[in-house]
């Protein structure tokens, strides 16, 4: 049994953590969040060139660092601690996940662009009616000569306004919620027939409703085999879910630390509120949720390649969704009125924690999936 990071992994964590704590201050983040473009391309450039983290999970043959899910976990936890809005999850974890699994010419062409920062990928999978069911697809890709014609509406596509590419799930056959007939495409974000409605999200990022109207795409945009994409989608979404658990671990860690600091400073009834036993016990309960979030993230990340991957990811996501709510709500409660003001970082961590609760399925969804996979 070895839970130790390698020297390279420790260096990765330290360099990302140091860079973010030095440059990605809360004020700098909010300036980007409130700016016109909603993100900081300079940070993305630094991720690529200064830190090299956009290559963390890719093979050295592609120019990457030769890592995998653990490297993603390390980066995502730091992203959670700093409330980073730039789309590492969408581009590296999800986009990279699909491309690594597909291999071939598309991977050879696009992975180096991810690593050098020139490709930004958004994952257009959810639809207005489908909730968390990955097979609930009304978007269609109809065969047309050598290529396909894409039609449909994708909901709440995070990072879409910044994207150079979309990964799109669509039906090339089968009926809604059927396991077969799902295909995955990587297409340029500026293809003719794509329109977007962009908006901010409550957790400080940007997203879009993305509409595809008779978008002509080549056969070379297909990832994996036509009509057999659902298992790959499930695998990559599980990898992304584990990464979001890592981000959540970072977020709840900061919520807890911030609350401890505040409780030592804030005085009521002549003493620091941290001296009240009822609040001490609450902060102990928060601490236990934080530690278990880290444990579950590690467990799920280490088992992503195993046969019962889905069950382990669902157990982690269920636990972390519940923990994120408990820690987030109590952090605000212990801060009192100041906790619900938009000025302090604590509220923004709470907002991100609240979105993490339901990202790729909420606690109920993952508990039901876990139950369905129990022995």
């Amino acid at each position: 049994m070895d839970f130790n990071f390698t020297d390279e992994q420790t260096m990765l964590r330290d360099s990302v953590g140091r860079y973010l704590s030095d440059t990605y201050t809360f004020d700098a983040r909010m300036t980007a969040v409130n700016g016109d473009s909603g993100w900081n391309p300079g940070v993305w450039k630094a991720f690529a060139e200064e830190l090299g983290i956009l290559g963390a999970p890719f093979a050295e043959a592609h120019g990457g660092l030769g890592g995998g899910a653990i490297e993603n976990m390390i980066v995502m936890e730091e992203i959670g601690k700093a409330l980073v809005i730039e789309p590492y999850l969408q581009t590296v974890v999800i986009g990279g996940g699909f491309l690594k699994a597909a291999g071939g010419a598309l991977a050879d062409a696009v992975i180096p662009q991810i690593i050098d920062g020139s490709a930004v990928i958004a994952f257009a999978y959810a639809e207005p009616q489908g909730r968390y069911n990955l097979a609930d697809l009304r978007t269609t890709a109809k065969k047309d000569g050598a290529g396909y014609v894409l039609n449909g509406h994708k909901a709440v596509v995070y990072a879409a306004p910044w994207a150079t590419h979309f990964i799109v799930t669509a039906r090339t056959g089968g009926s809604v919620r059927e396991r077969s007939g799902v295909s995955v495409f990587l297409i340029p974000a500026n293809a003719a027939g794509i329109t977007r409605r962009d908006y901010p999200t409550v957790d400080g990022a940007r997203a879009s409703e993305v509409y595809f109207e008779n978008v002509a795409i080549g056969a070379d945009t297909l990832i994996g085999a036509e009509g057999e994409g659902l298992p790959l989608v499930e695998q990559v979404v599980d990898e992304a879910t584990a990464a979001v658990c890592a981000e959540g671990s970072g977020v709840v860690r900061k919520l807890h630390e911030g609350t401890l600091d505040y409780s030592r400073q804030r005085k009521q009834f002549g003493k620091a509120i941290g001296e009240f036993q009822v609040l001490q016990h609450r902060m102990v309960d928060m601490f236990m949720e934080v530690e278990q979030a880290v444990s579950m993230t590690l467990m799920a990340t280490l088992r992503l390649d195993e046969r019962d991957r889905a069950k382990h990811v669902s157990s982690a996501k269920n636990k972390i969704s519940r923990g994120a709510r408990f820690v987030g709500q109590n952090a605000v409660q212990i801060h009192g009125g100041i906790g619900i003001s938009n000025e302090l970082a604590i509220g923004h961590y709470f907002k991100r924690a609240s979105m993490i609760e339901s990202q790729f399925g909420d606690a109920d969804y993952h508990l039901r999936r876990y139950e369905s996979l129990m022995d």
Partner: protein
């Protein structure tokens, strides 16, 4: 023991129901259904309709222009208001400073302020909380020094800062707790002042909350001159008024009627939204996990409702609101928060888009279904309910001390 309303109560209920259906402004109903922020005019429009009908001072005695309704009638009115999606009138004048003035005020204060509170002519806000005095209210520092003016009259000079002042941006008057004697025990040496917001030296600064709303403010008082006749009750005895007001604030804080509507709205959403799981696309309300949470919520709400009814029955037999109102505050606000949690869960992906509400003449349609775009901001905003009015931790302390004798 009788759970049924009397024939008079039923007739009263029908009268209220009809009046609300016929008179509640339609534009307001649409706004409150979607949880939109309300303008000053929105708040006042329903107030003025009710004032004209003589129904603004719901809990006030008849001699001061109130309805003189029984607690059962007040309960029916709250129930019918929620049923008709009618907003609750703001409490600062009607439920807070008004009762303080008619209980402790001078005849001049009663004559000057009470009719204008009833009619909605004056908008009041509450100056209790300070940066260093939240739940520990007695720790307040805003000081009022007494002096004789050049005109020979007595005044206070007020300096300090109030915070979390709800809707102070609209207010004509603020009622403040101020320290008039710093040398005695914290609860002594406090006075209760009525201050005209137009007085020089008052600055209102917005605090934007998590959902993006401008609902609360900081109020700075710098050399604000207040005539002594604007003090309610004796100098240094303001804590008596403060305690009286807090007990009144806690009644009606359970919000049972509004929570019932909230549960109904969740069910409506969950009949429209589709469950994620399985091959068949069932409504979310058929999802056994979600349904169980709605059921538990309904059961807990029923327990709260009947506990409130028992409290009301106690009040109508002459007992004032006691420490048991802390139970209503704790359970009522927990249920209000769970409703917003479930609503956010119910809307799924469409909880994420941040939509900043419509301005006048702005026709941009929200992202996703109409019921979705306020789910997250409302969830964030409602975290306040377990903090304000004495945090739920403080309410538990009150029950431990006053009810359990610990």
């Amino acid at each position: 023991m009788d759970l049924n309303f009397s024939a008079e109560d039923i007739a009263f209920r029908d009268e209220v129901r009809t009046f609300i259906a016929d008179n509640y402004p339609a534009g307001l109903r649409a706004k409150s259904e979607e949880g939109e922020e309300l303008s000053k005019e929105d708040f006042l429009s329903w107030h003025k309709v009710l004032a004209a009908k003589g129904w603004a001072g719901i809990a006030w005695p008849v001699e001061y222009g109130g309805t003189g309704w029984t607690s059962v009638q007040r309960y029916i009115f709250a129930e019918e208001s929620a049923r008709g999606d009618a907003m609750r009138l703001l409490p600062f004048g009607l439920n807070m400073v008004g009762p303080v003035i008619y209980t402790f005020g001078t005849p001049e204060q009663k004559a000057k302020f009470l009719p204008r509170i009833l009619s909605g002519a004056d908008w009041w806000c509450q100056g209790y909380s300070e940066p260093g005095a939240g739940s520990d209210l007695a720790n307040l520092r805003t000081k009022a020094e007494r002096f004789t003016g050049d005109d020979g009259k007595e005044y206070y000079r007020v300096n300090g800062q109030k915070t979390w002042t709800t809707l102070a941006q609209h207010a004509d008057w603020i009622f403040c707790l101020v320290r008039t004697d710093p040398t005695v025990k914290p609860q002594e040496g406090i006075s209760f002042l009525l201050i005209d917001m137009k007085t020089p030296g008052i600055t209102v600064r917005p605090i934007i909350t998590l959902g993006g709303e401008h609902e609360v403010n900081e109020v700075w008082l710098e050399d604000v001159i207040v005539p002594v006749e604007n003090r309610v009750f004796h100098e240094n005895k303001g804590w008596t008024c403060a305690k009286f007001l807090l007990a009144h604030e806690r009644t009606g804080i359970a919000g049972v009627a509004a929570s019932k509507r909230g549960v109904e709205r969740i069910k409506t959403i969950a009949r429209t939204e589709i469950d994620s799981f399985g091959d068949d696309a069932q409504p979310l309300l058929a999802n056994p996990f979600f349904k169980r949470k709605v059921a538990e919520l309904e059961i807990d709400l029923t327990a709260l409702e009947f506990t409130e009814l028992r409290t009301l029955a106690g009040e109508s037999s002459g007992k004032g609101p006691g420490p048991e109102s802390s139970l209503l505050k704790i359970k009522g606000t927990e249920i209000q928060q769970r409703i917003t949690e479930l609503a956010l869960e119910a809307v799924g992906h469409y909880g994420a888009p941040y939509f900043r509400g419509f301005g006048e003449g702005d026709n941009e349609h929200p992202i996703g279904p109409d019921y979705a775009h306020r789910a997250a901001p409302t969830y964030f905003n409602m975290r306040k309910t377990s903090i304000y009015g004495g945090s739920n931790e403080i309410q538990r302390n009150i029950i431990a001390k006053m009810v359990l004798g610990l």
